[in-house]
Amino acid sequence: MNEEDVVSRLKEEFGDKVSEFKTAPRRVFFYTPPEHYKEVVRFLAEKLGFVHLQAITATDLGDEIEVMPHLGRGLTVSVRTRVPKDKPVVDSVVDVIPGASVHEREAHDMLGVEFRGNPNLTRILLPEDWPKGVYPLRREAKLAPPKPIRGGKE
């Protein structure tokens, strides 16, 4: 199926719950609000055959956090959803695609997104003694410049 087929199938199934479509050769991007996020992903995985999850990208947009899984093997479909930063809760898609577990753990570690329904949101990329509540990829986290390890004679 090509990009126009995917767009028309999504529009006929979900009507105005999906919006902001952008297409490029072998790429489709669109937006859905967080309440319908899981059923859209389930439709894409079970009815249209996009079973392979490539990655889940989470971006800090200032007041909101955008969570975007990328699905597909030849044609890539990216589903965008935005949640407010002070309460970033989104449904987990682990029961639809079990391979999403590592990607959700990474988004949780780096940006603090809560995935409701994921039984194991433990640390995967940060060390175990990292302070809770500090999320490195958020804009407010400050970066310290590197210190020289042995003071050279400069």
């Binding site: 490029a24 072998r26 790429r27 991007f29 079973v51 392979h52 999850l53 490539q54 990655a55 990208t57 971006t59 800090d60 990328h70 093997r73 030849g74 044609l75 890539t76 990216s78 695609i97 079990p98 391979g99 999403a100 577990s101 590592v102 990607h103 990474e106 570690d109 780096m110 039984p119 194991n120 640390r123 995967i124 990329l125 940060l126 060390p127 175990e128 003694d129 990292w130 500090v134 490195p136 990829l137 986290a141 400050k142 970066l143 310290a144 210190k147």
Partner: protein
């Protein structure tokens, strides 16, 4: 999973982060019952360096070299994916000669990476003779890469807009001679791996991943193709000139470590043919276009078949000279759920502790690629030691 009341039955054994069987620091937590491994979990936080956050602080040209250093072995794949990504933001056409040179260097890097892995896998099963011979032949490929790009590792031949150097006719001649030599050696190694009793005893039937599980757990690369699933980014989503250069997608159907070895050997033979095709059909013309420093506002996603699997980069730009968000998902990270499944004993299929190093090595792990998210100023790493107490509080994995 619930445990029985005799608390001595299951033991939690950590392998790593520093261990002689592992090349890079990783913590493999194995739950064992006697000699059989019952469950596994993986902790990859020991090599994270803050690359994604560091990329937001540097401009697009400096980021080429940062992307290259995500991994030393797959450095051509990372720069290729990065440059394709940023060129997609500009929406410009790259000259054909540059694309042929990109594919040539990418396939040479694939041959080098698979030879490196084959030597390391031979070393993991104790076959050091094969390891030494393979690494001697790998030096021919390293010399070729040094001649074409200027450096053995961290080649830096891709840039935004094309490639930085042209290739000379004498180099093409040497390349074709080296391909003839390598083809004969690789066919010999294939015969060794198919007939030697040590290799077959250690690799056949070990680390089984069924096709249904491979699809369900989103495995990538040779791990997926050794389970009879025909998927390759170069065929499904062609980039550069992979739609013009002919090649076959290699699959094997025995789902075990020996199949992964044979998939990689056959991929090397395909790469040799692709290199020959690129040299013979290289068009003439310019090798780069000049572009402005700041790309237009937008986002782009780019995928490349690295030697270890499918690599995906995503960029979002806001019109300035620094990217707003850059995301990298490497193939080893995507293979972690499949790895944990491979190391679990179920029914008739048992995994012994002695099978763990070769099964782990068969997904071709590259931990430098895997953990590259933000750093603040932490310098200390901690060694974690398992305990029965932790076992009682175990709540599941992945």
């Amino acid at each position: 999973m619930s445990f029985s009341s005799s608390y001595e039955r299951f033991f939690d054994i950590p392998i790593g982060p520093q261990h002689p069987a592992l090349k890079e620091p990783i913590l493999l937590r194995l739950i064992v019952e006697g000699e059989h491994v019952v469950a596994a979990d993986v902790d990859v936080s020991y090599t994270h360096r803050g690359v994604e956050r560091a990329m937001q602080e540097r401009n697009y040209i400096q980021n080429i070299y940062l992307a290259e250093r995500i991994c030393g072995i797959c450095n051509v794949a990372h720069t290729l994916c990065y440059c394709q990504n940023v060129e997609g933001l500009y929406d410009v056409e790259i000259p054909s000669r540059a694309l042929y040179i990109r594919v040539l260097v990418e396939e040479l890097a694939r041959i080098h990476s698979h030879l490196l892995w084959l030597g390391v896998a031979a070393h993991e099963i104790g076959f050091d003779t094969l390891f030494m011979y393979i690494w001697r032949d790998r030096e021919r490929v390293m010399d070729l890469i040094e001649e074409i790009t200027g450096n053995r590792v961290t080649s830096a031949i891709n840039t935004i807009g094309g490639v930085r150097r042209d290739i000379r006719p004498e180099t093409c001649e040497r390349c074709l001679k080296a391909m003839d030599y390598l083809e004969e050696r690789i066919k010999y190694y294939k015969k060794v791996c198919e007939t030697d009793p040590t290799v077959i005893a250690r690799c056949a039937g070990v680390g089984i991943l069924k096709p249904k599980d491979a699809i369900r757990l989103c495995a990538v690369g040779p791990t997926l193709r050794a389970s009879n699933i025909k998927n390759d980014v170069r065929a499904d989503d062609p980039y550069a000139v992979h739609d013009e250069v002919p090649f076959n997608v290699i699959v094997y159907d025995t789902n075990d470590t020996l199949a992964r070895v044979l998939v990689r050997i056959d991929e090397m033979l395909e790469s040799i043919n692709m290199v020959r095709y690129c040299i013979e059909h290289m068009p003439s013309g310019p090798v780069r276009v000049r572009l402005k420093l700041s790309p237009p506002v937008g986002e782009h996603l780019s995928r490349v078949e690295a030697p270890r699997g499918e690599l995906i980069h995503y960029v979002k730009s806001n019109g300035t000279e620094k990217p707003e968000r850059y995301k990298v998902r490497t193939p080893t990270f995507g293979n972690i759920p499949a790895l944990c499944e491979m190391l679990t004993s179920k029914g008739d299929y048992v995994v012994n502790i002695a099978d763990v190093p070769i099964a782990f090595a068969s997904i071709d792990p590259c931990l430098s690629c895997t953990a590259r998210v933000v750093m603040l100023d932490r310098e200390k790493e901690k060694l974690w030691v398992g305990s029965l107490d932790r076992l009682r509080r175990w709540r599941g994995w992945g």
